[in-house]
């Protein structure tokens, strides 16, 4: 039987049926896989936080190696000593602070409302790490990450990630040769809060100068690099008051 596929009524019915079928497939997939996906995302967040404070399986140079997923929960509990939620002047402890969505909180802060800012305090070899989540914009989509500071406001490690930066260019912000450059930089200039710029042509590709508030940019990824610098600046800005109390101690 040949169906007349040119008729308007057929077209409309086909479109409607197709939408229902595709919609149900996607809805079914999404709801049945949701638990597993959230679990994976939670592990990933823990891995990223630990990575920023230097708890990872990295070997010498090379690629990023997280603590493995089956160990991460235990490691996270043993290294992260305190999790704080900073709400204006009010600071409370919360064991699930790390799950707070930084994107929403930064949007609140931008509107001038009080945001709930998560901050993780880790301890490794007797040294304290203040780990702050960051969120910003790259060239195509969102970028985010974590930065670990010591009480002198020196960067101890960072982790960056992105949603859709160009592979081979902007996507390289999550490569070690970019992230490792941040370690040792200060977020202060003198006593002023300055952030860290991602600079082109600072004549320091090896990043030997650690007191210039600059790291070497990635070739061909100017906008992503600027996004990283802006993300660090804007995110840390929200924590300025708290960090001042830390560095004043």
């Amino acid at each position: 039987m040949a169906v007349n596929t040119d008729k308007n009524s057929y077209t409309v019915i086909f479109a409607a049926v197709m939408v229902v079928i595709v919609g149900s497939i996607l809805a079914f997939m999404s709801s049945s896989l949701k638990d597993r996906i959230t679990e994976n995302e939670r592990f990933e967040k823990q891995q990223n936080i630990l990575y920023a404070m230097g708890v990872n399986d990295n070997v010498d140079e090379g690629s990023v190696n997280f603590v493995s997923t089956d160990k991460v929960e235990g490691e996270f509990k043993s290294y992260i000593k305190e999790q704080l939620v900073i709400e204006g002047d009010k600071i409370t402890e919360n064991d699930e602070a790390y799950l707070i969505d930084m994107k929403k909180q930064m949007a609140l802060a931008a509107k001038g409302e009080t945001a709930k800012l998560p901050l993780m305090i880790g301890e490794k070899d007797g040294k304290k790490y203040y780990i702050i989540p960051m969120y910003g914009k790259g060239l195509w989509d969102a970028i985010w990450g974590f930065i670990a500071l010591d009480d002198k406001m020196i960067v101890q490690g960072v982790y960056f990630d992105h949603k859709g930066e160009t592979p081979g260019l902007g996507a390289n912000i999550k490569q070690r040769y970019f992230m490792d450059d941040f370690t040792g930089e200060s977020i202060l200039k003198g006593t002023e809060y300055a952030g860290i710029a991602v600079a082109k042509g600072n004549n320091d590709p090896l990043n030997n100068t650690k007191d210039d508030n600059e790291v070497d940019a990635l070739a061909g990824a100017t906008i992503t690099g600027n996004g990283v610098a802006a993300m660090i600046k804007e995110s840390l800005n929200l924590y300025k008051d708290y960090l001042q109390t830390v560095s004043a101690k």
Binding site: V3, T5, D6, Y10, T11, F14, A15, M18, V22, I25, L26, M29, S30, L33, R36, I37, N40, F43, E44, S63, T69, H162, K163, G164, E165, T166, P167, G168, L169, A171, P205, L206, A219, G220
Partner: protein
């Protein structure tokens, strides 16, 4: 090949050479420019496109007699988008690491003109088996060019292959860099891919003059 008739086999081999989607049909150029700065990204993209195009061609081919011609482009788009999202969700649940690597490619696959082009030009008029072969063939042809371009761009632009420093260390000045060789930063940026693709087209057409169009 005993498995394939000669006509079927040509569905696989033609796109590799004289009917290459990138160099002859000039489809899929956008992704060929965007993601070939590294060899690894090229390979991942080639495999992902092969999966989506092979499967998508079969689905479209099975539906070819019931798709209303007025909205066929939308239907094709929905099929690609659904396939890609389903794969993305399954990977997120069961192979999270892999899904992180692939996530940037999702948008590029959905909008890849080779996929829409093959649905439109082949799958709508042919049976599922031949459509599947056509999909595999075209994605191989696409992948070969991507890998060639990625190889040269990564080698000349960063001095590495798949992340390994094959030419020595540019900062410590070892290997080839000790002789004063420098990486060509131009190869990193997308216009370099156009030039490499241009050279491939040039080589291909001078080897086979039948491909040169008359003016």
């Amino acid at each position: 090949m005993a498995l394939l008739t000669k006509k079927d086999a040509s569905l696989i081999t033609d796109p590799l050479a004289d009917n290459n989607p990138i160099t002859i049909q000039v489809l899929g150029i956008c992704s060929a420019l965007a993601i070939t700065a590294e060899l690894k990204a090229s390979i991942v993209m080639a495999v992902a496109v092969m999966f989506v195009l092979g499967l998508g061609n079969v689905v479209i081919s099975l539906m070819r007699n019931i798709i209303p011609s007025k909205i066929r482009i939308i239907v094709q788009l929905i099929v690609v988008a659904t396939l890609v999202i389903v794969v993305d969700q399954v990977l997120k649940a069961f192979a999270y690491e892999l899904s992180k690597t692939l996530s940037v490619f999702v948008g590029l696959i959905i909008t890849n003109c080779i996929i829409m082009g093959r649905f439109e030009a082949f799958a709508l008029a042919n049976g599922p088996w031949r459509s599947f072969l056509d999909g595999i063939g075209n994605s191989l042809g696409y992948g070969v060019i991507l890998i060639i371009v990625g190889f040269f761009r990564e080698l000349l632009g960063s001095g590495t292959l798949l992340g390994y420093k094959v030419l020595g260390d540019p900062i410590a000045k070892t290997g080839l860099y000790a002789t004063g060789y420098e990486n060509n930063g131009f190869m990193i940026i997308p216009p370099a891919a156009l030039i490499v693709v241009g050279i491939i087209i040039w080589v291909q057409r001078s080897r086979n003059p039948a491909l040169v169009e008359d003016n």
